[in-house]
């Protein structure tokens, strides 16, 4: 242990603690900007480059960055001496001198780390503002907006895209004053192998990387007299939406959310959890099918079967592993299954032509914005899901619609696409799809009822988790992966023939969809993710039905419309194909 002095506190910390961490233990909050550490996940970036966290250490000539300076025995640290305050403010002023400063119209306004910091430092003048600005590119993809003039060059996005996701779509370009973060050859993201996972957006402290906003389209549709606008809300949204309205992270606001959507003018509000149950029916059947073939000695069967409900992950293997496209399940994501069913089964039922129906998916996810735009998910140019908005966009729309969210009463989802099980609920978290599938596969494979519904082995936040499940003597080896960097490890092994699992779940975001890029910003606080995770499992535990195949509306859907899982109709509506999208 090391003893040091920080301001007027004597602090005792383990070796290898940074000044920043040590200060936190005595409630001294040193401002930071570039540093991020989502402890427990692999999201970490510590370039020590913004220099806003500088502190004074007795005996040192220069100020040092608290985020990257380790405590030493007997150190005397001043975190807010006049020298520190002057330097910190000057550095902030320098950042502002190369910043557009148009907070009023910035998507990050009031949620921006720079804005907060500048307020904390009490910057009241901009002494260098007549200087030149480094002008950088702006780009709008279906999922992500880049407004690089706002970039403060913290490089969190670069580190996430390269180190965490190992996609490498973004990187530092150039040198000196005009350095920027950009795709290779300064092209647009859609010309790269970007997966639209949006994790770069999730960590960007400012308004440089944000989601593509579909609010105006949505408002136009809602107010359109002839259009029937239906919402589907993803499992992970309801545990995070409350954060935008000052609820504690992990508060489930399902009922209020449904009420708000109705108040905003959605004609029907359904649950993507229903889509998730459908996914388990199809994917579960596929798993069983391949397992049975495998057990029967079929040498050509592709194992492991991999989940394919995360569109960023789908992009990832379409770009980087085009040779392995027949491993993933062909089941569509829950949101797309939902759209396909809504615009066929439900449309028929209601007697509404599909052109009149607008399906809006409300997602924790930015990749979904891209996914619903894919050509294979359109019928004569009409998409199954018209567009996707994020949890954050929903919050913004609620605020704009003069709704006092706090005091809203609860409502239920509409029927019949609103009924769901605990299995659908846990789709929002890493390991959830696997657990949901296991609940169904176990019962179908063994013919027995599960003795214990929870599969604790696949829960947690670790990047790669493996488990062996005993299916009446058959040892089912499964693996759960989150983040694409971990997926790469698995895929490289698969390519080399060194992977011996039967089923693999992959989610692109740290923690799965609870950590999706469309969620309220976690600002580097891992507790937020953990609270959401707890809420998901609590929801599941409280559900009456916890296995997808027990969902009565699902059973009805198959009976009335689809026939059986993997039937021709199911194939047509609920399955898809993958394409080689590698950049040559």
């Amino acid at each position: 242990m090391i003893t040091l002095t920080i301001d007027r506190h004597v602090v005792v910390v383990p070796a290898n603690t940074t000044i920043l961490e040590a200060a936190k233990t005595v409630n001294v909050e040193i401002p930071t900007l570039c540093h991020i550490d989502l402890e427990g996940t692999c999201v970490k970036s510590n370039p020590a480059s913004c220099r806003l966290c500088v502190v004074e250490v007795d005996g040192r000539h220069n100020l040092v960055p608290a985020c990257a300076t380790q405590c030493r025995q007997g150190m005397v640290v001043h975190t807010s001496s006049p020298r520190v305050l002057r330097a910190r403010k000057t550095v902030a002023e320098l950042i502002l001198s190369d910043h557009p400063n148009d907070c009023l119209t910035c998507p990050k306004c009031s949620d921006c780390e720079l804005q907060r910091l500048v307020r904390r430092l009490n910057c009241r003048v901009m002494p260098y503002n007549d200087g030149e600005h480094a002008h950088r590119k702006t780009e709008i993809t279906p999922a992500i907006k880049r407004d690089m003039d706002k970039c403060i060059y913290c490089r969190r996005c670069e580190s996430v895209c390269n180190e965490v996701q190992t996609v490498g779509a973004l990187g530092a370009v150039g040198r000196g004053f005009t350095t920027t973060i950009a795709p290779s050859f300064n092209k647009m993201l859609n010309e790269t192998n970007c997966t639209y996972c949006g994790q770069c957006v999730a960590v960007c402290p400012v308004g440089a990387l944000t989601e593509r906003d579909y609010a105006e389209e949505l408002i136009a549709d809602i107010t359109h007299p002839d259009k029937i606008v239906i919402a589907q809300t993803a499992p992970a949204v309801r545990y995070a939406l409350g954060e935008e309205f000052n609820f504690k992270p992990g508060t489930s606001v399902t009922g209020k959310m449904v009420t708000a959507l109705k108040d905003m003018g959605f004609d029907y509000v359904f649950d993507t959890d229903f889509g998730a149950d459908m996914t388990i029916m199809e994917e579960g059947a596929e798993i069983l099918d391949r397992l049975q073939k495998f057990i029967a000695g079929d040498k050509n069967v592709k194992l492991p079967i991999m989940t394919s409900c995360c569109p960023a992950w789908v992009n990832f293997y379409e770009h980087d592993y085009p040779d392995l496209l027949d491993y993933p399940s062909t089941a569509k994501s829950p949101a797309q299954m939902f759209g396909a069913v809504a615009k066929t089964y439900w449309a028929e039922k209601m007697g509404i032509p599909r052109e009149k129906i607008v399906v809006v998916s409300i997602m924790p996810c930015l990749a979904k914005k891209y996914e619903c735009n894919r050509d294979e998910f359109k019928v004569n140019g009409n998409p199954d899901v018209d567009y996707s908005i994020s949890t954050r966009e929903l919050a913004a729309l609620i605020r704009r619609s003069n709704i006092n969210f706090d005091s809203l009463p609860d409502s239920d989802f509409d029927k019949p696409l609103g009924e769901s099980t605990g299995a659908g609920a846990i789709f929002g978290i890493t390991g959830g799809v696997m657990e949901a599938a296991l609940r169904t596969v176990y019962e179908k494979f063994t013919g027995n009822t599960l003795p214990r519904i929870e599969f604790d082995q696949v829960r947690g936040l670790d990047g790669i988790r493996e488990a062996t499940i005993d299916l009446n003597g058959f040892e089912l080896r499964v693996c759960v992966v989150n983040t694409l960097g971990n997926a790469r490890i698995i895929m490289d092994k698969l390519r080399k023939g060194e992977l011996n699992y039967h089923v693999v779940e992959v989610m692109a975001c740290p923690g799965g969809c609870i950590g999706g890029a469309g969620q309220p910003y976690h600002h580097g606080n891992i507790e937020t993710l953990k609270a959401r995770q707890r809420a998901v499992y609590a929801e599941d535990a409280g559900k009456r039905l916890r296995k997808s195949h027990e969902n009565p509306d699902i059973q009805k859907l198959y009976k009335e419309f689809l026939g059986a899982p993997l039937s021709e109709k199911a194939h047509h509506l609920l399955h898809t194909s993958f394409y080689d999208k590698s950049i040559k």
């Binding site: 370039p47 020590a48 480059s49 913004c50 220099r51 806003l52 500088v54 000539h61 220069n62 100020l63 960055p65 990257a68 300076t69 380790q70 020298r83 002057r86 330097a87 000057t90 550095v91 320098l94 950042i95 001198s97 190369d98 002494p127 260098y128 007549d130 200087g131 030149e132 403060i152 060059y153 530092a172 150039g174 040198r175 000196g176 004053f177 005009t178 350095t179």
Partner: protein, 635 residues
């Protein structure tokens, strides 16, 4: 070639020394007599500088011509023509040095070869017109030992430059080359080697002056599967060429030192990170590595011992910041050359994650001789805290431009007025800039401080890598600060805020001042911003980049105030602050200025005094250069 062992190396040295004896003698003994084959000499060596400076003035052609002449006269068996590295006196290059009488010919042209051979080498008569003329006495000086430029120098790191053929390993061996390496491998423990280096007081010549022994000690202490010795040959300081000259003139000393360092810290791999702009140094290093490998002085089982050490070359690609050691390591790993925070120190976590010891070329060049001559010998030279000598690239407005090496503790005055021969064209001395873009400008009042790491820093500058630029009354100190800032802004890696944006803002303010748009407030801002950039930047580049601004502000505050308040540049360098006018009393009305003015700013009839319209004048200075009657006035 057969790999050497300890014994055969010794034998080879004895043999090689015989051949080099004449040269050694000529260097110490004073011989007033001119030697020639006809006047009794039986062997003559012609040394011709093959450094980059002299090569640019066709020294290669001179060598070829000399060789042809020697052949044509049938004296090839009695005369050797040898290409060496830089003599240091590049200003007067190309240099040709005749041994044994040590005649020092300057500014030789290829067509002079015949005369040198016929008159001097054969006839024994000096070619007077090629001799150096002392600017003070206006007498010719033939022996370099008598030249002011050399008299006060002490050549340790440059001991072999301009003396041996860098492409001939035997000549290096003759100068006790690889004796140090042989000695440490055979007779010393690594700890003893480190002890010697520590005791010698050798400090890093790359800028920061970190004690070399201490660094090696750290390197030794770390346990690892592999360790690396890296030679920092990035030499980015614009206007400095010490390291280049050492590598061109004495590449083996660097290789030997790296191997010694490898032995000391327990490393088996060496890497030289060198600027791609130094093709000659690269090729000399390559030749040297090859020869050393062939002789078993590098590679596996050096001299038959169980110590192995190999050396490879890595290229820079035009980024000054890569001289910073962590950035250098990133660059060698194929990455963007961005520095990172320390710790971890490179001695713990360096190239490819392995412990890595980075030393500068000049630091290393001192090592072999410290081993052979001993720590005490080295420690007896220099000042209390700065031992040994320092090489400087003396340049700017000075008579003797070139590469010099002086003991630490020599004063700036001795360097500028004695070695450097004073300010060029009889102008008035104004400032001397040391330490390159990280350093500062020193003035008249600093001329008598003894040069060492601490004194220079106390005076507001830096030892830096050894650039020394002399400025005269025609240099505008605001523009000089702006010049350095411009460099820094171009070379900043952009990683951290204060350096990326702060230096840009400094440059903008300086530019404003040189354009006459500065305000007194700007001077305050310059100072404050400079201080914050220094104390908050991530690496040495940003931590020192405002030094030129701060030191000029300190020493030439009046000049800044003049720019800001009176919109005047006394050195007449800031174009925007100049006024061009015709002196009616001198103007003959010839019209030359009018025809040459690109802005049509001059009016006047033939044979009548002309007039410049200040609103149209773009201050290009064309009129002044066209006027034969000195009638254009600038103020």
């Amino acid at each position: 070639m057969k790999p050497l062992n300890f014994e055969s190396l010794k034998k080879l040295r004895q043999k090689a020394q015989a051949a080099l004896n004449v040269r050694e003698l000529s260097h110490t003994a004073v011989s007033e007599k001119c030697c020639g084959l006809e006047t009794g000499s039986d062997h003559i060596q012609i040394l011709c500088c093959g450094g980059t400076g002299c090569k640019a003035s066709q020294s290669k052609k001179i060598v070829e011509n000399l060789q042809e002449c020697v052949k044509a006269h049938g004296i090839a068996d009695k005369v050797d023509v040898i290409t060496t590295g830089c003599f240091g006196f590049c200003e007067k290059g190309p240099i040709v040095n005749i041994i044994p009488d040590n005649t020092f010919y300057t500014q030789v042209k290829p067509e002079d070869a015949e005369e040198i051979v016929k008159e001097h080498v054969i006839g024994g008569h000096r070619v007077e017109r090629l001799l150096y003329v002392d600017p003070k006495t206006e007498h010719t000086v033939s022996d370099s030992k008598h030249m002011d430029f050399y008299r006060k120098q002490m050549r340790i790191a440059l001991r072999n430059c301009g003396f041996i053929d860098p492409e001939n390993i035997n000549e290096y061996i003759a100068r006790d080359g690889y004796a140090g390496l042989a000695d440490v491998i055979k007779n010393q423990t690594p700890e003893q080697v480190i002890e010697t280096v520590t005791k010698s007081g050798l400090r890093g010549r790359g800028g920061a002056g970190f004690p070399a022994g201490k660094k090696w000690e750290h390197g030794r202490a770390v346990q690892a599967e592999h360790k690396y010795v890296v030679c920092n040959a990035d030499e980015g300081d614009p206007g400095a060429f010490m390291d280049r000259s050492i590598m061109e003139g004495d590449p083996h000393s660097v290789l030997e030192a790296m191997a010694i360092c490898g032995y000391a810290i327990g490393a088996n791999h060496g890497l030289i990170y060198i600027r791609a702009e130094y093709p000659l140094a690269v090729s000399r290093l390559r030749v040297a590595i090859k020869q050393a490998n062939e002789l078993g002085l590098l590679g596996n089982n050096i001299l038959g011992s169980d110590f192995s050490f190999d050396i490879d070359i890595r290229y820079g690609a035009g980024a000054f910041v890569c001289g910073e050691a962590t950035a250098l390591v990133h660059s060698m790993e194929g990455k963007r050359g961005e520095p990172r925070m320390k710790p971890p120190h490179l001695t713990d976590h360096g190239y490819m994650g392995y412990p890595t010891n980075v030393n500068n070329v000049e630091t290393l060049a001192n090592v072999p001789i410290i081993i052979t001559k001993g720590a005490d010998w080295f420690a007896s030279i220099g000042t209390e805290k700065s031992k040994g000598t320092k090489v400087f690239a003396l340049a700017g407005k000075i008579n003797n431009v070139g590469l010099i090496e002086v003991p630490m503790g020599t004063t700036l005055r001795e360097i500028i007025y004695e070695i450097g021969g004073g300010v060029k064209d009889g102008k008035k001395f104004k400032a001397v800039q040391t330490g390159g873009p990280s350093g500062g400008c020193l003035t008249e009042k600093h001329l008598d401080i003894p040069i060492d790491y601490e004194s220079l820093e106390a005076a507001g500058s830096m030892m830096g890598s050894g650039g020394m630029i002399v400025m005269d009354e025609d240099d505008c100190m605001v523009s000089v600060a702006k010049f350095y800032l411009d460099f820094t802004v171009n070379e900043s890696c952009g990683k951290c805020t204060p350096c990326r944006i702060g230096n840009k803002r400094l440059l903008e303010i300086l530019t404003r001042i040189t354009e006459g748009k500065g305000t007194p407030q700007d001077l305050e801002t310059l100072k404050r911003l400079s201080e914050v950039i220094k104390e908050t930047s991530l690496c040495g580049l940003g931590q020192s980049s405002p030094n030129p601004v701060l030191s000029t502000l300190n020493n030439f505050y009046d000049e800044y105030v003049e720019h800001v308040k009176q919109h005047k540049c006394r050195a007449k360098q800031c174009k925007a602050l100049l006024t061009y006018a015709v002196r009616p009393d001198k103007c003959k009305g010839c019209g030359a200025c009018k025809r040459g003015c690109p802005a049509d700013a001059i009016i006047g009839d033939v044979r009548k005094p002309h007039v410049i319209d200040p609103s149209k004048c773009i201050r290009c200075g064309m009129c002044k250069s066209h006027c034969r009657f000195d009638a254009i006035q600038v103020f």
